[in-house]
């Protein structure tokens, strides 16, 4: 399963995560911070205030099924926003697969303090 690890510098502002399952495929999404599960509102996951995220691991998992008969690609785009730098986008994708095949995409996030602390 495709796995990425990303560190993100945060301040006090709320940090949000937007996830897009591309290629017209169907996907299930789960996001967690520490032991807490985060639910989306209008497709946007609010992970919490930046200074509270430092020191906590955060997780995003996307299970994608190749249900679009016109494509054999899967892709997931993550956009983290609210940190001290501009939003960044991470893309993961795979090509090829049988109809219906399931791919689990994983993103491990850690947060560093803009003041210099780390998770």
């Amino acid at each position: 399963m495709p796995t990425e690890h990303r560190a993100y510098a945060v301040g006090a502002e709320p940090v949000t995560l937007r996830i897009v399952v591309g290629e017209g495929q169907m996907g299930g999404v789960a996001v967690g911070v520490g032991d807490d599960d985060i639910t989306a509102q209008n497709g946007l996951y609010t992970l919490g205030a930046g200074d509270h995220l430092v020191g906590q691991p955060a997780f995003a998992a996307v299970s994608v099924s190749l249900a679009n008969p016109a494509s054999r690609r899967t892709s997931v785009t993550y956009t983290l926003d609210g940190g001290v730098n501009d939003a960044f986008t991470l893309e993961q994708d795979l090509t090829g697969g049988t109809g219906g095949a399931v791919v689990d995409y994983r993103l491990f996030m850690t947060f560093t303090s803009a003041a210099g602390g780390t998770s």
Binding site: M26, A60, L94, F108
Partner: protein, 374 residues
């Protein structure tokens, strides 16, 4: 020459294979995959008169497809007629295209997603080199009205969404266990994911199949152009055919029945013989039963009068085409179609042309597989 070409369009044994691949730049040889079965009914084949059916039914486009047709009377074992069909939209990544936009694409989305360009060649070998003729066709088609997802697909999609949501939650649990160093927990969840994969993939496969057959009103527009090269002489090439047509399909949501109407305009200007226009109106009813589909196709042709009959007879005559078509998807990799009936009459000939075509679509090579990071 004309008689030879006409033989391509009548009693034909067709062996059609579809090979589909993502763009070469985006993959290596291991990630080649095979497209789902589909009859070689691209507009380029239609304008050359070698398609299995005169009334095409709508189909899910593929990024790249190759069709081969071996015609009766051809020399050697290899097919002499080839077509490629490309759907530009699906050749590159579509990272922002969501499932909802595939389910309900709207007119603009349907046009973009369904636009295909096809190229085909048909070769008629004569007894003398100067009698041979190669024809090249180019065509496009687009589906501005794409119908709806079937109720069965809606049901499958709801079930699959639940499974994928549950699976992604398990994956997050596994990620937590990894961070915590809980190897037993990781292994337990991994076992659950493995067991779930087969069930979820099967459901996804059923959904992908169900998504291929949209229901309701479907409108497809196509056009094509052909050129003939007498004696296989490049300098002798000339445009010898143009056509434009629209097909309107109503696929019943709760019944395995599709009704298709076609209106087609043709302008033929053969290398040998006079130019003619023809208007074709017809329809096709398709009854689906599991992997089988039976259909009846009727097309009425009204051809413009010939100023003078060509010396070898031929030319378009007004009249009807009535054929029956049986299609069977024997396995996911093998599709067989059989067409039988009477073709449009030919000017100057007192016979009713026969259509008897066997079409086989088959896939070969590696089984499709996921590539990339483990």
């Amino acid at each position: 020459v004309k008689a030879r070409l006409r033989s391509l369009g009548t009693a034909t044994v067709a062996a059609a294979a579809l090979l589909s691949a993502a763009p070469a730049a985006a993959q290596d040889a291991d990630s080649l995959y095979l497209a789902p079965m589909r009859a070689p009914a691209s507009p380029a084949f239609v304008i050359l008169g070698i398609a299995l059916a005169a009334v095409e039914r709508p189909a899910t486009p593929q990024a790249f497809a190759l069709g081969l047709v071996a015609a009766e009377g051809g020399s050697g074992l290899l097919p002499q007629n080839y077509a490629v069909e490309v759907a530009p939209y699906w050749m590159g990544p579509r990272r922002t295209l969501t499932w909802a936009q595939v389910e309900r694409p709207g007119v603009a989305g349907a046009i973009a997603q369904s636009f295909t360009v096809s190229l085909a060649t048909a070769t008629g070998a004569g007894t003398q080199p100067e009698d041979s003729l190669t024809r090249v066709g180019i065509g496009f088609r687009v589906m501005p009205v794409a119908g709806q997802v079937s109720p069965a697909a809606h049901h499958l999609a709801a079930g699959l969404q639940q499974r994928l949501d549950a699976r992604s939650r398990r994956v997050v649990q596994q990620m937590r266990a990894e961070v915590a160093g809980d190897t037993a927990g990781v292994a337990a969840i991994q076992a659950w994911l493995l067991a779930d994969s087969a069930v979820t993939a099967d459901l996804g496969s059923q959904l992908a199949d169900a998504m291929r057959a949209r229901v309701g009103l479907i409108v497809e527009v196509a056009a094509a152009l052909s050129a003939g090269f007498a004696g296989n002489d490049f300098n002798a090439g000339a445009v010898d055919g143009r056509g434009a047509w629209a097909t309107v399909t109503y696929a019943m949501p709760d019944q395995p029945l599709d009704l298709i109407a076609v209106a087609r305009w043709l302008n033929l200007n053969p290398v040998v013989g006079p130019a003619q226009d023809a208007l074709e109106l017809g329809g096709r009813g398709i009854l689906r039963a599991g992997p089988m589909a039976g259909s009846v196709e009727f097309v009425r042709r009204q051809a413009s009068a010939l100023a003078a009959l060509p010396s070898d007879g031929g030319g378009l005559a007004s009249g009807n085409r009535l054929v029956g078509i049986l299609e069977y998807r024997a396995t996911p990799d093998l599709f067989v179609g059989f067409t039988f009936g009477q073709d449009h009459p030919v000017a100057g000939r007192d016979v009713t042309p026969l259509v008897a075509r066997l079409g086989v679509n088959f896939a070969w090579g590696k089984r499709p597989l996921i590539t990339g990071a483990p």
